[in-house]
């Protein structure tokens, strides 16, 4: 379902609620007003967790039912369901401590990319951008570092503090994956090309996961129709943040994230951190200061 408006409709998703500065409000409201008045997008629903709403709305979410103390992956998954059930073409993800610059949504839209974000930085040293490249050997992620300002580059994973995603990315992921229940009861989305039949909904004998000849084996059962849990687009697991999980799902259907380094956010914690703090660290690393 997509809009019939001449401008694309963009929902705003805010799933994090950890540190919020009063300074955040001015920047974000200015950005949204600019977008509404002068931008190339029509702002749809604000889909937010509690702390990103005024106090009288605590513990509520517009168009959804997320409680403010839920984990970020749960919040994102629930917000995504609301977005996909709605009319919007895109969802613009930000956190309740990231303040993107004015016209951010229009600028990201203009790129024509379906999965693209701006830069925001780790609030504490080394202030690296929350955008990553994966080491093909180890599978581990390292932050993008030493890039040119105003670059527009394809990367392997991106944080969701300033990221625009088209609904087709979610639909393509959903249509090309099957959801299974693991032995610990959690959900896992497996690409259809990696599933060998028969698919089962119940195992006669329950076995614990094991490793044989360096290959991990675990009983998976297909998610049953009565299981109301949402498609697991985001998972906080293995000590990794949920953005890696989503980026890997998107990559498995041929879509990798893009990073536009001309779009720079402030990341508010107790003290705002941004491009200046990152540049200091970059110059130190390069021996320039």
């Amino acid at each position: 379902m997509t809009s019939t408006s001449s401008k694309p409709i963009v929902d705003i998703g805010i799933a994090c609620n950890i540190n919020q500065s009063y300074l955040w409000w001015k920047d974000v409201m200015t950005m949204l007003l600019q977008e509404v008045r002068y931008g190339d997008a029509e702002i749809g629903m604000l889909r937010t967790v509690g702390s990103a709403l005024p106090d009288h709305n605590k513990n509520n979410i517009v168009g959804n039912s997320v409680k403010r103390l839920s984990l970020t992956d749960y919040n994102r998954t629930e917000i995504t369901k609301g977005f996909l059930d709605g009319q919007a073409d895109y969802i613009f993800w930000m956190d309740d401590d990231t303040a993107p610059p004015n016209n951010v949504i229009s600028r990201l839209l203009k790129s024509g990319r379906d999965f693209i974000g701006g830069v925001y930085f780790l609030p504490s040293p080394p202030h690296h951008p929350i955008a990553y490249r994966r080491d093909p050997e180890t599978g581990l992620y390292a932050p993008v570092f030493g890039y040119s300002d105003a670059a527009l580059i394809q990367i392997d994973s991106i944080g969701f503090g300033c990221t625009l995603v088209h609904r087709s990315v979610y639909e393509k992921i959903r249509d090309n994956h099957t959801v299974f229940v693991r032995t610990n009861g959690s959900l896992a989305a497996i690409h259809n090309s990696r599933i060998q039949k028969p698919i089962v909904t119940r195992h006669a004998k329950k076995e614990k996961p094991y490793i044989r000849a360096g290959i991990y084996h675990e009983q998976y059962t297909q998610q049953e129709a009565g299981d109301t849990r949402q498609f697991p687009y985001y998972q906080l697991e293995y000590g990794r943040t949920e953005d890696h999980y989503f980026s890997e799902l998107a990559e498995s259907v041929g879509i990798k994230p893009w990073l536009d380094t001309s779009i720079v956010c402030t990341h508010y914690k107790m003290k705002g951190a941004g491009h200046d703090e990152y540049k200091q660290e970059e110059m130190k690393a390069e021996g320039l200061i």
């Binding site: 203009k110 990319r113 890039y147 670059a151 390069e286 320039l288």
Partner: protein, 153 residues
């Protein structure tokens, strides 16, 4: 497919591909092109001729046609100067050569701003390495900004 190339770059021949080479100081882009490649030639232009050149390229491209720019990285050259490690390639990146002197150098931000002003849609803007041959026949690697932009009517 029809490709226009400014600067010294070759594209491997293939069936149905027409490649035309032009001099950035003296060119007439006739007809429509699917791709225009400008390899290390833009810095040869005076600043007041850059936008007119980019506009010509825009108008000569088919809708969804691509402009591909390779320009020496001003940031990289500046760092070499700042850290006192400048070599011949650094000075070439900043000043060009006697036969083809450079009139300007570009940061990624400056280059992307010019391209978007025309108004191309930038699809990628990354760092790359361009292999160039010196007059002595040596091949050296030069850090460049690589921008791919499209005409999107």
């Amino acid at each position: 497919m029809r490709i226009a190339i400014f600067g010294s770059m070759d594209v491997p021949p293939r069936e149905g591909l027409e490649v035309l080479h032009y001099d950035i100081h003296n060119y007439t882009l006739d007809g429509q092109y699917d791709q225009i490649i400008v390899a290390n030639a833009l810095p040869e232009l005076h600043r007041n001729k850059v936008i007119p050149f980019l506009e010509s390229a825009y108008n000569a491209l088919v809708n969804r046609g691509e402009l591909i720019l390779y320009v020496p990285s001003a940031e990289w050259a500046a760092k070499q100067i700042f850290t006192n490690t400048a070599d011949n390639i650094t000075y070439y990146m900043l000043y060009g050569e006697e036969a083809k002197p450079f009139r300007a150098c570009y940061t990624m931000l400056a280059l992307r701003t010019l391209v978007e002003r025309v108004p191309f849609v930038v699809r990628s803007a990354s760092e790359n390495i361009l292999k160039i041959s010196t007059p002595e026949g040596e091949t050296v690697k030069m850090p460049v900004h690589a921008i791919t932009a499209v005409r999107n009517d």
